[in-house]
Symmetry: none
Subunit: 199 residues, 4 copies
DNA sequence: TATGAATGAGAGTTCATTCAT
DNA sequence: AATGAATGAACTCTCATTCAT
């Protein structure tokens, strides 16, 4: 009995936390960190202002928790897609395709990410890079290093090149019109990158 | 006599405006629009709070005035550099080189630009794009269209491709370490882009 | 239980609102709208500055809420007193007596009213007239029209004459010395008005 | 020669002062003391901000100088009109007629007066009453005392009754519609007052 | 005499955060 | 666990006043 109750309680806690994070994502995407409003978030989540502070110690911590979540989802989604292919060239194409798909599907969350990376708060920026470290490593090892080994890519240094690919991804995928459609086509971007990487 | 006085006064006005814009550039770069502090700006410029409002009607107007100034300098600098070459391929290289140089030389101003473009305030974003329209046109006409005409580039559509080049430029040039050094090399970026554009 | 809590909370809300309005009445009476200080009001009410904005969206809205309250009290008090008599002549006397009594008892609130009516903000003025419409109607119908019907008053038009009586009331009752005593005697005023209305 | 120059200079000074006072009258009438804007006044007068402070030591002093001027004009106009008649009854009618005429002709200045009298600044109020002392005396002596002596008025005390007449005048004459037309007719008001004063 | 750039105290308002319930 | 009334520091913006020219 007690254990069941315990479980129920945990579920309620998780669900509240989830709703708060969802609402926070929308608000942070809409307004950025400084202009995001804690009250707006709590109301959108269906709770009152105080509840947020039962789950997150501060507005800043709320955003960081959201970054963690976004990074996990983002990395998992891209890895999953990329690993469907084994050829490094196809993996690269998949990488851009999956990246654009992720941004399309999760535009508010992606916007938060881009805002933070190109924003002026260095602490946020550093936090994001740490959270995305697995993705950098994945691109470097599973796409670039393999392509170089197999002789499909020029002899590039995996680490800085991974950064280049990521930067191009973020820069191109983030440009959207009012309906959320990308200005650029991922195939166009990966074609361009592939030309650059091939011998 | 009267004319001299008039001139003096105008010079003082211009100089004050200049110092305010310089200080504003630093502060907006450091903190972004919302967290930038009017008081900090005026103190840094050597004036008191109220003086800003003798020159700009609001914090927002101050930033927009700065955007105008940055865009003019930015566009002029890049055009000047690019036009030193006549070959479209070399022009493209110059474009990235000049772009990276501009960011290096005017990092705070470039940061403001990137923040606005990737930020959440749609009005700021629209304003920036209008201010940079001449640059888009320049890239489309003086680099891409010429390269296509002369058979050096694939048959790309100048307008969206100009946007792609700009996006890649902004995305790559803006990534800097703490000392302001670019993570990426402009030659690397233009090589990649060139590979993508060539037949 | 829950209902009691609910009630308690509502009582606290009402009480805070009440204290804010009381303090606001004193401050607006002392200084007029423009020179009234939000901080002074909240401190006098025993709260901090921000609390006012949990109850009223702006300084202006605070004053308008106060006007609503004053008008309701004012009208109710005068109607109650006037309706103690049925003879229109006696009603007129009661009207001035009650009016002067109201001003004596609620001098700060009355001052706010007079300030607004004779002030330069047309929006405030219009708001006050709308709030006092019931009083104009009451004087026109329950005093003047009846007196004319019963042949005690000259054949005057009720509406503009009601305005005249109100104007004389406001003009005379508002003149007070430092101790809040009226310069004029309401009996004197109503005698004068009665002479003017009788055949 | 020197004396002529001196005269010219004095004329310029007087004219500037005059234009400043005219502009100040409009602005104080429009907005009341607190919301009146020194810059608006100086621009309307065709001068710059600083000039006001060459003529008046402060915004407050500017208003007081204006009050002096208004009172002098006001009193002179009413005395002149009233003294055209010798019969106290006709003088009383003239008093209200002239009063309403003055307000009609000098609405901004009259508004300033009414605002101050019914406003919340006690110092302004006291200043106005001192400036209008000659008018109170004039009404008491030249209208009321004479009417009582000649047996046309009831045996009223001149001083408080003068105050009553003035208060009624100010209260009634100040109510104007958007085109500046009085809500009430001065004949109506003086008829009412006369009924009250006659035996 | 007239100017207007500079000042800076002070205003209303916002909002992340606290905490008693 | 959830609430929301209260807080008060911080913010942008206003404007009467000063003073060097």
């Amino acid at each position: 009995m007690a254990r069941i109750k315990q479980t129920d309680r945990q579920q309620i806690l998780d669900q509240t936390r989830r709703r708060l994070l969802e609402a926070a994502a929308d608000e942070f995407a809409r307004a950025g960190f400084s202009d995001a409003n804690i009250n707006t978030i709590s109301i959108a989540a269906g709770f009152s202002k105080g509840t947020i502070y039962n789950y997150f110690p501060s507005k800043r911590a709320l955003l960081l928790a959201l970054v963690d979540e976004i990074a996990l989802q983002h990395i998992a989604f891209i890895q999953e897609q990329v690993l469907l292919e084994s050829d490094p060239l196809l993996r690269l194409e998949r990488f851009y395709q999956a990246g654009f798909d992720f941004v399309t599907a999760s535009l508010p969350r992606a916007r938060i990410l881009f805002n933070l990376i190109n924003g002026s708060d260095e602490k946020f920026k550093a936090y994001v890079f740490i959270a995305y470290q697995p993705m950098f490593n994945f691109v470097a090892n599973e796409i670039l290093a393999r392509g170089v080994e197999q002789g499909q890519f020029r002899l590039v240094e995996p680490a800085p090149t991974a950064m280049l690919l990521m930067t191009i991804y973020l820069g191109t995928a983030s440009q959207r019109n009012d309906e959320g459609q990308a200005w650029l086509d991922p195939a166009q971007v990966s074609a361009l990158v592939l030309h650059g990487l091939q011998k």
